[in-house]
Symmetry: D2
């Protein structure tokens, strides 16, 4: 049994991690930490848990953590993760970081989009980007995994195979994403106040969202050339899920069949991607509470646009689910362990 | 006082028309019709109405209608409107048709997208397309007004000024729209069953929605050349409103200021369009229960994409509100009459 | 034209007051105040308002207010209203106070249930309780109106006629109320965080809600004897409306017809109460965005329980709508002015 | 491995059964039936299921079913279950019937409340009422289990211990329940049309709901005397969950401690009931997607009312979860098997 700690366990990604790890056959939860002073039984945070689970979320000293735990899930805000990663890696621990701090290989891009100085550029090189489907080989045995953002996961899974196979243009990629509100976390704000968001819908950070460079980094890797995207996130009046509608320009002569083949080749053996085929589109309800990414597409011959739609649960495949999937790959556990039937 | 009839008054657009006409100073409701056999007091349909309003929805013979009413709002399903329009126009009545039957000037496009034969092509030429902001002059004194579809209204208002002023390319126009469920009407279906749609979100009729040719007709008129669009509608788990995120390719050298000028010139004097300026985006809650179209935009210099976002209430500016706006223009009433403060 | 000020205009009740007063034929808005430092155009607060309305919310000195305004709507938190009322009344102004500070005639009950000292008991006697339907005569010409709470309005309208007519017992009255979240105001809290309340439902402050003594005060007045109630509020995952299910013990021999007569006598001439009759029940959607209270009932012969259900919009009949209704009565304006068609 | 069939597998309770049985270690799904003609892969019905699950829902002949399956879950509408039960029991099969057909021991009560003749009164005596917590001994080895209704489960669990221990009066019991819309099933109706229910809330079948005699049967058993209740169901604008607010009259001298003891004695060893204690109240979100019933209470000394609040997931503890719990008890499997961590 592997001893796992969740650092910053009181947010929504922490809650999901706890629920998954409790179902996992090869790990035990060795520590759940919070910056709040009082200890709280895990049922206070997640009242749906069985009453006989005996876990407490509380402050832990680094000395305690070093002793009790071997692998750490970091659910800290961006910029706070940097130092904690350093400490844990210094002590030889395996770290799966759910923050954005080690996702971008280009520190200056981080500084531009996040508006803060990167104070631990040394570890950036060590970090493996945890988009499991494309970087599985590097994830095996990795020591520091930068778990992908929610929007970048849904976007990249819909585009990478086509770019890699040279079926679509690198120019003019448009990603129109719609996210449930849990993506914004547990922090109170007027925009997630029930009376403001209920029955409402709007675009935000248009062309300026900090996940843009992360998407572009993956697409540039796939296409072999610097690839820019136009990315527009929207806020949905629901709890969980991201649906991304992606517009791509078909390369001349590429057929619908060729597109299908590309997706099938990429995903037929993937346990957590379900390609639905041409003119079949995913719905958020089909992926909520699961680690799946569902993908469908339409080839619009009238305009030469290819429209790909992907759906994920932002807290699972978009965060905690993929984090555990990465742990499984990293340590050689069966990839679906803990992530099976909802 | 003008005598107005609402034909097919029991659906959602009929309900909204009744509510508006009751507030209108220059009209009286002379008939509310239904195909159902029993008469029903208007409060049975719209329980929120004051108890002292004495109106009944019931079957009416054409003879009665001819006598009682001068102007007719038609809230009939597509293809049913054709014959009723003929009868009413034959009797010299003014008709505002909320169906799609007379919107497309090209009957073959109608037949292709709606999958039925057009049986009254003669009246197509008489019909004026009622997108008030652009066709006000023709609407004045018109006898048959084809009231625009909900998606086409939100889309065209965000694009026409820029195309007309030659600021964006005619190619590669993408319209990603998200609609509340009242747009699908009162007809029962699994897709609008509460337990299926609640917390759900998805794209439908991708690249195949029947509003596509209506949008293209208006954009072709604006650009002076055949203009195709890629149009993807989505269903939102909320009652009212359509938000459209529109992607346009900037023409070389066009600045953000030039875009702003174009919108201001088009809309500064419009009573029902509110241009919010650069980097200011509309939200559905700001237009729900109003006849407004709100518009914002972002110019993404990194990708040369112009992103325009528009929001309307699909039942008001997208249907019944615009129908009354058109009646006001047609007959010389003040344009805002009946459509002021919710 | 009467000059009206709204003190504390940035909350939900302030917003509704502004929307109503703009439609009112006999008043003009002379001041909208906030404690925030920057002035904000009213459209920033209420983006749905027409763009040509020229009103600004900003801090106002008492000297300014005294000069500019004759009647004041107070939308201040409980306990803050006390001193402002004193100042305004000292200057001879008419005050309609939407807080709880002057609703309870018994200051010690106020202190018990609200947990704070009452610092202006002198004005309590001057205050008229503004449940319009029952206290219309005292409201006429009143100088200080204590506008009722939202729960007490919906509860009292369903019970008072029956108690007054001696048809039900004073003992064992149970009020099970369910409220939309706007009742909790604009203040951020985890309980009104979208991801926490969406799809959720629960009871709160069971047997301990501060509106309990206000309900009991009205019922005691109606029955002529001290009358206690068991009151359980619940939070609904929706924006507006309170539905109260009220359980009363029928007095021996009282028939269904007698109950109906009592309600009809009380409400047939009331402009804002709609009694629906036996076995006809109200729904929140029928009263949302209106100043109505809808009432239905069932007499359960098997258990001798009378079940009365009432529905109101908590922001209108439960707050700002009733406040304007009270102003209309107080000053002799037509009672429905400003409150007509949504 | 026990061979289990689900008869009528395409509704919401069928879906939940499939999901639970797939996780169950001691059963395999041997048949999933529908009256529709075409076979459909289980993923068409439940798209969230893993793609490699190979199950098909299709019509099955009785001969096939007799051969393939040993235990049958019946998810048929009321009155349709009667004959199927007869056939299956005639063949010696174990049946867990989720319909109401065998819940009431008194066939005349069935006929009164359901408005149809009972055509299989012989089997009523054989049937064991499956409220697991109270009838566990009879459920062991039973051949025909009448699985309780959703409302009766939540109501009985909150009242039985107190009645059994003689702490509350048999008179004046009031149950005010609020249910999510999945309780009404998958059948289309205007009342579950999204645009009608969204943001809405109302009471229905007040004093006339068919679950009333089922609740009364259990309470009469607990109190040892005929016990009537006043039961008011309401419809919530959310998918899953029933919250019941129960009003009981305390017997003279009974203390809060005595109430707590009664609940603790009844439920401390129950795997699926979580008693939260005095002044601690359940929320729907804490029981959704679980088989738990959460219970809290408040003793209102001012009015001598005891207010008990219970919460369940109507599709799990209120239907399919309890059905599997009953199967586990019946056949000696661990009671929590298949029902553990969501």
């Amino acid at each position: 049994m592997l001893n796992c700690a969740v650092i910053g366990a009181t947010g929504y990604t922490g809650m999901e991690l706890i629920k998954i790890l409790l179902k996992h056959s090869y790990v035990r939860i060795s520590a759940l930490t919070t910056r709040q002073k009082e200890a709280l039984p895990v049922q206070t945070l997640i009242p749906s848990l069985p009453k006989d689970i005996d876990l407490v979320i509380r402050p832990h000293s680094f000395v305690e953590l070093k002793k009790s735990s071997d692998l750490f899930f970091l659910c800290l805000p961006h910029t706070e993760a940097m130092e904690t990663v350093e400490k844990l890696r210094g002590a030889g621990k395996i770290v799966i970081d759910l923050s954005a701090d080690f996702r971008l290989k280009d520190a200056s891009a981080y500084e531009f989009w996040y508006g803060v100085k990167h104070r631990n550029t040394a570890r950036i090189q060590e970090a493996v980007y945890g988009l499991t489907e494309f970087f599985r080989d590097s994830i095996r045995g990795a020591k520091l995994i930068a778990n992908p953002g929610c929007y970048p996961t849904g976007a990249a899974l819909g585009i990478v195979p086509l770019l890699r196979d040279g079926l679509v243009e690198k120019e003019g990629i448009i990603i129109d994403s719609k996210s449930g509100v849990s993506g914004a976390g547990k922090k109170l704000s007027l925009s997630s106040h029930f009376a403001e968001l209920d029955e409402n819908f709007y675009a935000y950070k248009v062309g300026q969202h900090q996940h843009t460079p992360e998407i572009e980094q993956t697409l540039s890797w796939a296409s072999g050339r610097k690839t820019a995207v136009s990315f527009t996130p929207h806020l949905l009046p629901l709890k969980r899920g991201i649906l991304s509608t992606i517009y791509l320009r078909r390369k001349k002569g590429v057929t619908q069949e060729r597109i299908e083949q590309s997706f099938r080749k990429a995903y037929d053996k993937e346990p957590f991607v379900r390609f639905k085929g041409a003119k079949q589109f995913p719905a958020l309800k089909d992926v909520q509470q699961t680690n799946y990414c569902d993908i469908g597409f339409h080839f619009d011959a009238r305009t030469d646009q290819l429209i790909v739609v992907t759906a994920i649960d932002n807290l699972l495949k978009g965060a905690s689910g993929q984090a555990v999937q990465n742990m499984n790959v990293c340590l050689g556990f069966p990839e679906q362990e803990g992530l099976g039937l909802w």
